[in-house]
Symmetry: C2
Subunit: 115 residues, 2 copies
């Protein structure tokens, strides 16, 4: 998943959203701004380093915004931009499609067996 061949918006957006974390992070930011450490609590299996990297690419894509508050200990908050908020329903639609699809088309056999 490295260099792009075409300048295709779909390929580009998938480049940003691909992988396990991006959509999860967006999901957990739906409700409003959160601190770094709270996002880690939401995603207990992600590693420190990965989270900063993932958050950075989301920021560079204009999906989230990073705010650094001075003081000690440091405090950094992330929240969805307006573009990020507009993205949420599109991702949800994919989730809905998936539930629908897996329930009906693929698992037909299972349903068959039960009846």
């Amino acid at each position: 998943m490295k260099s792009l061949v075409l300048r295709c918006p779909i390929e580009e957006v998938m480049q940003v959203l691909s992988g396990r974390w991006p959509t999860l992070l967006i999901y957990y930011l739906k409700g409003g701004a959160k601190r770094f450490r709270d996002l880690r609590k939401d995603n207990p299996t992600i590693y420190h380093k990965m989270m900063t990297l993932e958050l950075r690419t989301l920021k560079e894509a204009g999906i989230i915004e990073r705010s650094e508050f001075g003081g000690y200990p440091l405090r950094v908050e992330y929240e969805l931009t307006s573009a990020g908020h507009r993205l949420v329903p599109l991702i949800d639609a994919l989730g809905d499609w998936w539930e629908e699809t897996q329930g009906v088309d693929v698992n037909m056999e299972r349903i068959d067996r039960k009846s």
Copy 2:
């Protein structure tokens, strides 16, 4: 991107669509059934092995269907299922969102921040 923690439909659908090829393959099948070799012409940089693997996971997800016609040389065709067709507009919406976002919002916010 291995084991899933949650039974979250979004995480699951992203598992299938993540990466460079799935959405591209879906895109190239929008117009109707295609042979294996024609899909390779559409995606000249994908390798033989990868394509069979990607096509297989798409099939297992119920997005495409595989038809094998006997004869020699062998002939295999792939086409979108009805679920696959319902997925297309959702992916397109992501592409549209991306174009819109990269053109307008991201730069806007940068300009805002400067003032």
